[in-house]
């Protein structure tokens, strides 16, 4: 029998159901590969269970708050259990969209213009009286308003006119303490996954996303038939090369390991923009990482084993 692997899933985040779907598929793949699998929900009994069961590694199939923001990573470091995916710092950086975007800018990776506003700035400082400055600050409408820390596009709204801005901000701020207002780039939406391997990071074929509603929001993501996908994306060679280069740069810049997925847009002028980076990409039947992997001949099980290999290697290094 191979190593004992705890698959962490569920939790109390808003993405619980998605995580349970990801986790179940991961657990099945690991079982098929011969590992002893321990599927675990994130409950107040988690630490006790981990200490009693002493798994060789944890596969993190959690999405959203606590799973993707460095919380579970920090806990597993403390418990001395190796885990899949980026470490504490990379997780925290990628999770905080304004911080990640600032790093992109400093590194010369294009990201759409944005501003960040906190709930306190509205409540305590009257920021709502300055909403007329928004178009000037980000380069005009349309814009996207979204929570500064949240996966799965919950609380995300496209805003075309000044009148819609306040309501979109309220919606985004119902998911967290800060919202970002980002210039909307009209063009081709892409998800570009990176998997670490023996020879360093491998960039998988970009996935092109065409949401039938025009907005790749929560419903479009998880409702069958709402979205068309093209793998590899229908891009020219030069653009493909740029997209792949940015994916790898983002992966390395944030200090990701094992796996990451950058979301990008190719503007109608051909410019490539990086929106954000996900450190615990979805692993459901309609998820983008497994789709990209399939396009270069990898099965779902290959992906799972490849991601797990990173954690097991670190266990070996730890001795």
């Amino acid at each position: 029998m191979r190593e004992k692997i705890a698959v962490l899933m569920g939790g109390r985040s808003l993405e619980r159901d998605v995580s349970l779907s990801s986790g179940k598929r991961v657990a099945e793949a690991l079982e098929t590969a011969g590992y002893r699998v321990l599927p675990l929900d994130v409950t107040p009994a988690l630490v006790e269970t981990l200490r009693a069961e002493r798994p060789d590694a944890c596969y993190i199939a959690l999405h959203g708050k606590y799973g993707e923001d460095g919380t579970i990573q920090e806990l597993l470091e403390f418990l001395g259990i190796p885990y899949t995916g980026p470490g504490v710092t990379a997780s925290a950086l990628a999770w905080d969209k304004p911080v990640a975007k600032r790093l992109f800018v400093d590194a010369g990776i294009p990201t759409p213009r944005w501003i960040t506003l906190t709930a306190d700035a509205f409540k305590e400082m009257g920021a709502a009286t300055a909403l007329d400055l928004v178009p000037g600050a980000v380069g005009g409408f349309p814009v996207v308003v979204k929570p500064s820390k949240q996966g799965s596009a919950l609380g995300l709204t496209r805003v075309d006119t000044a009148e819609e801005l306040a309501e979109a901000l309220l919606s985004a701020l119902s998911y967290g303490d800060a919202a970002i207002i980002e210039k909307w780039i009209e063009g081709t939406e892409l998800a570009v996954s990176v998997l670490d391997g023996i020879e360093g990071p491998q960039v998988l074929p970009p996935v092109e996303i065409v949401a039938k509603s025009g907005l790749f929001d929560y419903d479009a993501m998880y409702t069958a038939g709402q979205t068309d996908y093209y793998v590899p994306a229908r891009l020219g060679d030069d653009t493909t090369a740029t997209v792949r280069r940015y994916a790898q740069e983002v992966h390395e810049l944030l200090g990701c390991r094992d796996v990451s997925r950058a979301d990008m847009v190719v503007g109608s002028d051909g410019g490539v923009w990086v929106l954000e980076c996900n450190t615990s990409p979805g692993m459901t039947e309609t998820s983008l990482l497994p789709m990209a992997a399939a396009a270069c001949g990898m099965t779902f099980q290959d992906v799972v084993e490849r991601v797990l290999a990173g954690a097991l290697k670190r266990r070996g290094e730890r001795g």
Binding site: M9, G10, R12, L14, R16, D17, L20, S21, G23, K24, A27, L38, P39, L40, D41, V42, T43, A45, L46, E48, T49, L50, A52, A119, F122, K123, G126, A127, A128, T129, L131, L165, A166, E167, L169, L170, S171, L173, S174, Y175
Partner: protein, 433 residues
């Protein structure tokens, strides 16, 4: 997809047990699911939690010895009959009792116009089974009873919700819906006219007549679900739809006038419909519990149940008053709620941008729970609404619970007010009910 009992089955472990049969269930079950949010917070509990979530009757006010006497008499006096299979339509004696109860609310029936069901809930399931083919349209109030949505959804209909206001279902909106659907364009119209679950509102007498006119004009059966009709605290009795039109299918229950633990309800409908329902019931359970039926016969044989019911109504009425006055005292001006004349529930409408689902997480941390409004719509509407049940907590607890809830809402509203003050949002909130 998952067995959620893992917490109960294996306390103190985070282990998840997968459903090994996932992927083999019938397609119709995909549309029927419990809310993840509710599962989640059902587990998270603190000792001083005040629940406005469940609509549970206060059975502690039903004298134990009265129930015990009815149950023991059932076995001692009816003997074998109480322990044997019975007829599918239910025991004749109980159906006579039900006919008497119905006469008191203005509906004249014979025992053979009635069948006994396992709660009104079974009636909903059986009606859905005999009427709904996949893709059929059924018309309900929006919001409506979760259990009805669950019962109907299993038969894969398309559910059309008609909006409500303080006077119950808006019959002008019903007319628009029926005009769009055309004659026989829906399999039935489902309504809870008295102290509606979850909205707490009562259908006005003139709207009852109009609803029946429309149903006749468009040739669509009406299902009247009336679990709370006898829990009126003030205002005059309003005649049930069934008293105005013999074609109305009426569902009643012993759950609120005796005890839900007996699982006894009834249905009256035109005989051809009853015959179909009876066939469906035979497939479901052959016959209802004879033991429970005899117990109910005995319990309702005397007059004591009337005093018990009066006592229950006094208690519920006091709790309703406690909730309404606490809402008035503590809730922010931007929030609206209904003022029920009976039943179990108050329906609360928050400003549009507030999501009651995310609010619930905070409320639980503050020691108070409720059911988010989206549970009562088939299509994700009602996100800014919540149902508060006043039936179960004592008045002091209700006051404290509303105070805690107000704190959570107040905190969220700070942001909203900042936008209003800056003129970034229009001041007036649209909204009904």
């Amino acid at each position: 997809m998952f067995l959620r009992q893992e917490r109960g089955a294996e306390m103190g472990t985070a282990r998840i047990v997968f459903d090994r049969w996932d992927g083999r269930y019938a397609r119709r079950m995909a549309g029927v699911r419990s809310s993840a949010v509710r599962d989640l917070f059902a587990a998270a509990s603190r000792p001083d939690m005040i629940s406005f979530a469940g609509g549970m009757p206060d059975v502690a006010r039903v004298p134990a010895e009265a129930a015990a006497m009815a149950a023991s008499e059932a076995v001692l006096h009816e003997g074998a009959a109480a322990l044997q299979y019975g007829s599918s339509e239910g025991r004749p004696a109980l159906r006579v009792t039900i006919a008497e109860l119905m006469a008191e609310i203005g509906v004249r029936l014979g025992a053979d116009d009635i069948i006994v069901t396992a709660g009104a809930q079974q009636g909903l399931d059986l009606l859905a089974k005999v009427f709904i083919d996949p893709g059929d349209v059924v018309v309900t109030e929006g919001p409506t009873y979760v259990g009805a949505l669950q019962a109907f959804s299993a038969y894969e209909p398309r559910i059309e919700c008609v909006p409500m206001d303080e006077g119950g279902m808006r019959v002008d909106a019903l007319e628009e819906t029926l005009t769009r659907l055309g004659p026989r364009g829906a399999k039935f119209i489902y309504t809870i006219p008295n102290f509606q679950n979850p909205a707490g509102v009562t259908l006005l007498p003139e709207r009852r007549r109009r609803l029946l006119e429309l149903a006749r004009a468009y040739d669509i059966p009406v299902i009247e679900d009336d679990p709370y009709g006898r829990l009126r605290f003030d205002g005059g009795h309003v005649k049930p739809l069934r008293a105005l039109d013999e074609d109305v299918i009426y569902l009643g229950t012993f759950s609120k006038i005796f005890a839900p633990g007996l699982r006894l309800g009834w249905m009256t409908a035109p005989h051809p419909i009853l015959a179909k329902v009876l066939l469906a019931k035979q497939a479901a359970d052959l016959c209802g519990s004879a033991f429970a039926q005899v117990t109910a016969e005995r319990y309702f044989a005397g007059t004591r149940w009337r005093r018990v019911l009066q006592g229950l109504n006094r208690a519920y009425s006091g709790r309703r008053d406690a909730m309404l006055s606490a809402l008035h005292e503590h809730f922010p001006a931007e929030v609206r709620w209904t003022r029920p004349e009976g039943g179990f529930f108050v329906w609360v409408e928050l400003p549009n941008f507030l999501d009651a689902g995310t609010l619930l997480a905070e409320a639980v941390e503050h020691g108070v729970t409720f059911v988010p409004g989206s549970a009562f719509f088939p299509d994700g509407r009602g996100r800014n609404c919540m149902r508060l049940a006043f039936c179960y907590a004592e008045p002091e607890a209700i006051e404290e619970g509303i105070r805690r809830l107000a704190e959570v809402i107040e905190d969220r509203l700070g942001l909203y007010r900042a936008f209003i003050a800056a003129g970034a949002l229009p001041e007036a909130q649209e909204g009904a009910a």
